[in-house]
């Protein structure tokens, strides 16, 4: 068998993505409208956040700018899942109609092949917005700046993205076992909204759930400690990268197991 390593997959990935973007750009009206839509979604999200903070100067000891940082952090960390794994949203439909079978006949990794098919370019606007928000709040917070801090930030952003991706993969993969899995996926995606807040505002029960069962607290809350409050970093924050990697691997295994047991519909 021909060898297909990381280099092969990287090359293929960029070629497929380039084609996908090219074809999306060719539908200009579609592209412009969805970009405008994305901008409004971001603005309205920010406005509701801002109104909240006009009324409460701090939440559970977290100041406005700290919260803003958390907000920007969560926006950036959900960008990869939005841009690179958007095809998970059509998985249910493809499995239901039997179209998914086409992915089973290629000599490359099934998960890779499936996810590579769609690149959601709209997520890039959100990325810019998130970076902007983080940069602004960072400048307002009196925490200084160093290359090491930036490195930590990047590592923890990757971690957070992995958790978000894992959450979505696992949720999407439920469609291999249950018919009406849209709610699962939708629910998983809604959790990202909770990721924006410090989990200390939730009751102990939810705090436990969001830490150990559905680890969304690792998306923004625990990682942001490392940058915002380096003196009081909880132990769990340092565990974040590990949680991210492990959770991603588990979700990948679940996804692949579902895909391999898939046997299509009659034709």
């Amino acid at each position: 068998m021909k060898k297909r390593g990381l280099r092969f997959y990287t090359k293929i990935y960029f070629k497929i993505i380039a084609q996908d973007i090219k074809s999306k750009m060719s539908y200009r009206a579609d592209f412009i409208i969805s970009t405008i839509g994305m901008i409004f979604t971001n603005i309205s999200g920010f406005v509701s956040f801002w109104i909240l903070f006009r009324n409460f100067p701090s939440i559970n000891g977290w100041s406005y700018h700290e919260m803003l940082f958390l907000y920007g952090f969560s926006l950036v960390s959900i960008t990869p899942v939005q841009c690179l794994f958007d095809n998970n949203w059509s998985l249910r439909q493809q499995v239901y109609t039997g179209d998914f079978i086409k992915y089973c006949f290629r000599p490359i990794n099934l998960f890779f092949y499936y996810q590579s098919e769609v690149f959601d370019i709209k997520g890039l606007g959100q990325l810019a917005f998130g970076i902007g928000t983080m940069a602004y709040s960072w400048s307002k917070l009196d925490i200084g700046f160093s290359a090491f801090m930036l490195l930590k930030l990047i590592v923890f952003l990757i971690t957070a993205s992995l958790i978000m991706i894992a959450l979505q993969n696992a949720a999407a993969a439920t469609c291999f076992w249950i018919q009406n899995s849209f709610y699962v996926l939708d629910l998983a995606f809604k959790f990202k909204d909770y990721a924006k807040y410090p989990i200390t505002i939730f009751s102990p029960v939810f705090r436990f759930i969001f830490t150990f069962v559905i680890p969304i607290a690792f998306i923004a809350y625990y990682p942001s400690y490392v940058v915002l409050r380096p003196d009081e970093v909880p132990l769990l924050s340092w565990l974040s990268p590990l949680v991210g990697v492990v959770f991603f691997i588990i979700s990948y295994k679940i996804w692949m197991r579902g895909a391999l047991k898939y046997n299509g519909t009659g034709s």
């Binding site: 297909r4 070629k15 034709s267």
Partner: protein, 333 residues
């Protein structure tokens, strides 16, 4: 010539929930463990030689797709052995995928938004086809079909015929040893069907590609296959040459006549008059299948001529279509 596919005593069973009717039944089903075992493929044994075109036939739900899914590695057989070019497909799905091409008539496997040539380039990279071979294949395609008009067209804008054509070309692109074609001509017009048949035939001849073809269109079988395998309710009914099969029906003749007016209506009327024979109509002819052991064709014709004004007539051997129809209805004795 060696055997490229070997299937030995293959059985595939599915566990199906016994569903009850109505809302109340559905609620009960939620807690039910009442499964029944359905045998989709039942102890099938066959082998296929390199370079053959085999027609894999059977009524809807006979187990054709299930067999193909096992050969392509999507499904694991419940029992029995499958070897495709020496590989066990289910265990080596990716390796098996290098050797095969697959076309499912109604589901395109190409990138929906991309022009065909871009899909070809991606496939070239995925299958790691050497540039030289890739260009040779494109040259071959250009000599066989007029692909220029579709080469730069996104798949989503293509007509069904163009899409099927593209899918077939894509399946042969990496020069696989075996190509599975599942109803490749379904829904196509007469001229497109002919084009696709010629293409499959030429690709098989020039690249010595083994082709396994499932279809409900006996035109495909007549144009392409010498050997057919018939399966029904999971069991293999027949596995040999078409001519051999027609030999079983040596005493049958097809009497074709043409009458004025709506042929469908005439056919219905004749079917009532001639209860012993099967009567059908197409665009041009009314066909009466006569078993000469029961009645002489000439007598049937004479009887009809007394009552109707026959415009034109033809006498033919039994067609593949009628043979297959008889086998689906009555089985092989």
């Amino acid at each position: 010539m060696g055997k490229i596919i070997e299937i030995k005593n293959v059985t595939k069973e599915f566990k199906v929930l016994n569903r009850r009717e109505g809302l109340k039944g559905s609620l009960k089903d939620l807690f039910s463990r009442d499964y029944k075992i359905v045998r989709a493929v039942d102890n099938v044994t066959m082998s296929i030689e390199q370079g053959e075109i085999v027609g894999y036939l059977g009524p809807n739900g006979a187990g054709k797709s299930t067999t193909i899914k096992m050969m392509t590695g999507v499904l694991e057989p419940t029992s029995g052995e499958i070897l495709v070019d020496g590989n066990i497909p289910y265990k080596n799905r990716a390796k098996n995928a290098e050797n095969i091409g697959v076309v499912f008539g109604q589901r395109s496997q190409l990138w929906w938004a991309l022009p065909l040539i871009e899909s070809f380039k991606l496939l070239r990279d995925i299958y790691q086809i050497p540039q030289e071979n890739y260009e040779q294949m494109l040259e071959l395609y250009k000599s066989l079909v007029d692909i220029e008009p579709i080469l730069h067209k996104p798949v989503r804008q293509m007509s069904l015929g163009q899409r099927t054509l593209s899918d077939i070309l894509a399946a042969f692109l990496h020069d696989p040893k075996i190509v599975f074609l599942d109803e490749p001509t379904i829904g196509l017009d007469v001229s497109m069907k002919a084009k696709i048949r010629t293409l499959i035939h030429e690709l098989n001849r020039r690249r010595n590609t083994t082709v396994i073809l499932t279809t409900h269109d006996m035109g495909d079988v007549d144009a392409l296959c010498r050997r057919i395998v018939i399966i029904d309710k999971g069991k293999m009914l027949y596995n040999n040459d078409i001519e051999h099969l027609k030999g079983f029906f040596g005493s049958y003749r097809t009497l074709k006549i043409r009458l004025d007016g709506d042929l469908e209506q005439w056919a219905q009327q004749l079917a009532q008059e001639l209860p012993d024979f099967s009567v059908s109509a197409d665009d041009e002819w009314i066909s009466v299948l006569v078993d000469e052991e029961k009645a002489k064709v000439i007598d049937v014709l004479a009887g009809l001529q007394k009552k109707y004004r026959i415009r034109d007539m033809q006498l033919e051997e039994i067609s593949t279509e009628e043979v297959i129809k008889k086998i689906y209805e009555e089985g092989v004795q």
